[in-house]
């Protein structure tokens, strides 16, 4: 192995009762690409945040280029030549590319920012590593791929010798991913070392020299990529055989929700829907695949009632609505599982009982003459805790204290309790452990068997393919024609996700 540039020794980090990293050690060699593989919540990002100084480890040390790295100082990490590209970009949207890159690179007390020198250096770097981006552009106007290039340029500008990439491909189209991999090869040729964090096996196999697998905060194994098999890595990652739920054949019924040529308004940087046609049928799961940020949020917003269509026809069970809101969506029989359970799905500082009645507190079951029936609310909460196997001290506990999986089970229970005819499941398993994922999938399949029409939105293509009876692909706010289970190959889906439309798209 080449001489190590980075040595992590016995890193342990606890958050309250949770041990996010449990005595993790590894070395990174010069010119090496190490993949950090693991499920969501395995502790990959925490480990890298410790390395970069965002967090301080409870135990353990980090050594960079033969010198110990002082803990908790991003500045020290930067100076030691460590650069990090975060999963959620750390860019100031209303400032230019040049300003974002130059931030913090010149002495704060200098009387003038040297834009010329910065510009020259950015040009030089982007030319030599194939990272084209306009330095004068405002970040808000850039595509996701371009923003990632800015992030990489930020690190290179500071002479990074070690580059950490946290889930860099989650937001990229297949073509952009290819371009990123080409850039990485150029960097490695220059002698940089790269840590590549991912939960996608295929990418890890394609890009890395060595794979470290994390599971529940522990290092579950390390393999040279050349000698490893996909199955072996998958087993290490999950720790147990993954059992896909049995999916009985669909009995498709009538269309319960119909969108015809629907367009939505642009909100901030989100992609709006642009002439979308889609129908959800009883007894079917429709999977929506696509690179994130291509209109999923707008479609989810529309179904959940947060957004109204700008034009086009939108009918639920044959009814159009003059005033479309979350309350009307609920009344129309749509159950919603939101993408962000902390910010949107729950009210963290309120109790479990207060949260589970949030969508139905006005029904006679929970209130009379403007007064709430707290006993009924608690009974309902207790029933959900029991039926959905939620680990939770009492209905009075603040919901913020629950783990992500338990929170999601409560949201699921709240949504499914009234036997909804239509279900919007937006990233229903993101960040959950394997057991919770299987549970959520099982519940969705149960609802399908009952005759519900389900829209499953997920960035995880494997989840979409496993569950969906029909798959549609969203790209730049437009939908592909649906394909039945197994009709399109992964490659075809990838093409659609990248926006190369098929001829069949025309009416």
């Amino acid at each position: 192995m080449p001489s190590p540039v980075l040595i992590l020794e016995n890193i342990t980090k606890r958050f309250g009762p949770l041990t996010a990293n449990d005595s993790i050690s590894f070395e990174l060699g010069r010119g090496e690409v190490v993949a950090l593989l693991g499920e969501n919540g395995a502790g990959k990002t925490t480990l890298m945040n410790i390395l970069f100084g965002h967090y301080v480890a409870d135990e353990g040390t980090v050594e960079a280029f033969g010198r110990p790295l002082p803990p908790g100082q991003p500045r020290a990490a930067l100076e030691a030549g460590i650069g990090m590209v975060h999963q959620h970009f750390t860019l100031a949207d209303n400032m230019t590319v040049l300003e974002n890159i130059a931030l913090g690179t010149q002495g704060l007390l200098r009387p003038k920012l040297d834009r010329k020198a910065a510009l020259a250096r950015i040009r030089e770097l982007s030319d030599s590593f194939g990272l084209s981006v306009d330095p004068a552009a405002t970040v808000a106007t850039l595509s996701v791929g371009e923003r990632q290039r800015v992030e990489i340029l930020k690190a290179l500008y500071r002479d990074a010798r070690v580059l950490i990439l946290d889930e860099p491909t989650a937001v990229l189209t297949p073509a952009e991913t290819e371009a990123l991999f080409r850039t990485l090869k150029l960097l490695v040729a220059e002698g940089l070392s790269i840590i590549f964090i991912s939960h996608k096996l295929a990418e890890v196999m394609a890009v890395s020299d060595r794979v470290l697998v994390l599971r529940q905060g522990r290092l579950a194994g390390a393999r040279a990529t050349a000698g490893a098999t996909r199955a072996e890595l998958a087993a290490l990652m999950v720790g147990q055989e993954v059992v896909s739920p049995p999916v009985p054949p669909a009995v498709a019924g009538p269309a319960l929700l119909v969108l015809e040529d629907v367009t939505t308004a642009r909100r901030g940087n989100a992609t709006p829907l642009d002439g979308v046609t889609l129908s959800l049928h009883s007894g079917e799961i429709t999977g929506l695949a696509g690179v994130s940020g291509n209109g999923q949020a707008a479609l989810a917003g529309l179904l959940s009632g947060m957004e109204a269509p700008l034009s086009g026809c939108f009918e639920v069970q044959g009814r159009a609505f003059a005033k479309w809101s979350p309350a009307t969506a609920l009344k129309a029989g749509i159950a919603r599982i939101p993408e962000d359970r902390h910010a949107v799905g729950t009210i963290g500082d309120m109790s479990v009982a207060e949260n589970v009645i949030a969508e139905r507190y006005r029904s006679p079951r929970f209130s009379r003459a403007g007064f709430l029936d707290w006993r009924a609310a608690r009974r309902f909460a207790e029933a959900l805790i029991r039926d959905y196997d939620v680990k939770c001290p009492s209905p009075d506990a603040r919901i913020r204290l629950l783990s992500g999986g338990n929170m999601q089970k409560l949201i699921l229970g709240r949504a499914l309790d009234p036997d909804p005819v239509i279900i919007l499941a937006n990233q229903p398993t993101r960040g959950l452990d394997v057991g919770a994922v299987a549970y959520v999938h099982g519940r969705l399949l149960e609802a399908r068997a009952r005759g519900a029409a389900i829209l499953l939105i997920s960035e995880d293509l494997e989840e979409i393919l496993a569950l969906s009876d029909r798959v549609v692909v969203v790209s730049k706010g437009r939908l592909s024609l649906p394909s039945a289970r197994g009709e399109r190959s992964l490659r075809d889906l990838g093409e659609l996700m990248a926006g190369h439309r098929e001829a069949a798209h025309a009416p």
Partner: protein, 349 residues
């Protein structure tokens, strides 16, 4: 330095930290007392005696607490829904104006009818005054902090205009003051010969009502949900804008009752110095009570005690009575800090 939430703050911490806040406040204020050349202990003694040393002092304190309970409730209700009503002062004055307009003989009604009519009218006026900034917030995205603050100045000028114009007391020898309200529009005294009036009882009843609303009703539930997480509340189907509007009506109405009770129960007429900042002190009262309606009663009495006690003290010792305002403001800042430390643990690594 990082702040980590304590999952279940121990009871000892919850009790100890607020006490520490009081101790720090007393220590800081003692420094000022020393600077004034007096002895902190004797000054504290004088303050306590002035606030609660006799039946007279106690009644004065409760009298002073009455408007603070109303404004404190107004602020607590609004802040709970994260509606930043800093305009209780304006709403108080509008309530007082309505009381004077209706209470100086315009309505020939018996007391039992007249007083409720005036109360409802005053509340309606205060409610509408806060509804404006709230609609500007929900419709146009205008920050309500600045608009409610500016309305305080507008309201005071409006009152000044009325007192030199239509509401001017013809017998007032040119002073900007209104005529006195008729006997039937006055809240009776609780004990003859003392200033404590039935406005205090109304305030207690209001606190109880607000507690019931917040704890037991759909509206209170909606207000808390909107305050904690408006986005999640909207997602769950709650009518966020209309909840904010209702909150504004309730909050503005409560603040207006302070104006009503001061005119109808205590002063008898309207002057430009009707409120020595009751609206702003209401913020302190509400925060000290952690926005709990019953707690507001306690903290209003506490804050009123400081003001009444400091007035009495400054007559005896040579310490300016502004020490009370300093103490109340310091208590606000130390208390919010203490409550933070009760909920979060500081980790230096």
């Amino acid at each position: 330095m990082r702040l980590e939430p304590r999952p279940q703050p121990p009871l000892g911490v919850l009790l100890l930290y607020p006490l520490a806040a009081v101790a720090v406040t007393l220590a800081l204020v003692s420094l000022l007392v020393l600077a004034a050349g007096a002895s902190p202990l004797s000054v504290l003694g004088l303050v306590l005696k002035g606030a609660a040393g006799s039946q007279f002092a106690l009644m004065e304190t409760l009298t002073r607490a009455t408007p603070l309970i109303f404004t404190g409730l107004a602020v607590a209700v609004a802040f709970r829904a994260r509606l930043w009503n800093i305009g209780a002062e304006a709403q108080l004055y509008i309530g007082a104006v309505v009381t004077v307009v209706l209470g100086t003989g315009a309505l020939p009604l018996p007391s039992i009818v007249l007083i409720p009519v005036i109360m409802i009218a005053a509340m309606a006026a205060g409610a509408l005054l806060l509804l404006g900034p709230t609609l500007l917030k929900t419709r146009f995205g205008v920050d309500e902090v600045v608009t409610t603050l500016l309305l305080n100045f507008i309201a005071l000028l409006f009152v000044s205009m009325l007192l030199e114009g239509p509401l001017k007391d013809p017998t007032g020898l040119g002073w900007p003051q209104s005529s006195r309200v008729v006997a039937d529009a006055q809240l009776p005294r609780i004990v003859t010969g003392r200033r404590l009036h039935y406005g205090f009882v109304v305030a207690l009843a209001a606190a109880l009502c607000v507690w019931v609303v917040m704890k037991k009703t759909v509206l209170g539930y909606e207000m808390r949900a909107v305050g904690h997480n408006a986005e999640a509340a909207r997602f769950a189907g709650m009518p966020v804008n209309s909840v904010l509007a209702k909150t504004a009506l309730l909050s503005g109405g409560l603040a207006a009752l302070a104006g009503f009770s001061e005119v109808s129960g205590l002063k008898g007429n309207l002057t430009l110095d009707l409120s020595p900042g009751f609206g702003y002190s209401g913020i302190v009262v509400a925060m000290l009570a952690m926005l709990n309606p019953i707690g507001v009663v306690v903290s209003a009495i506490f804050v009123a005690g400081i003001f009444v006690g400091a007035d009495a003290m400054s007559r005896a010792a040579k310490v300016p009575s502004y020490i009370a305002d300093v103490m109340v403001a310091t208590a606000l800042l130390t208390m919010v800090t203490a409550l933070l430390f009760a909920r979060f643990r500081v980790r230096w690594r």
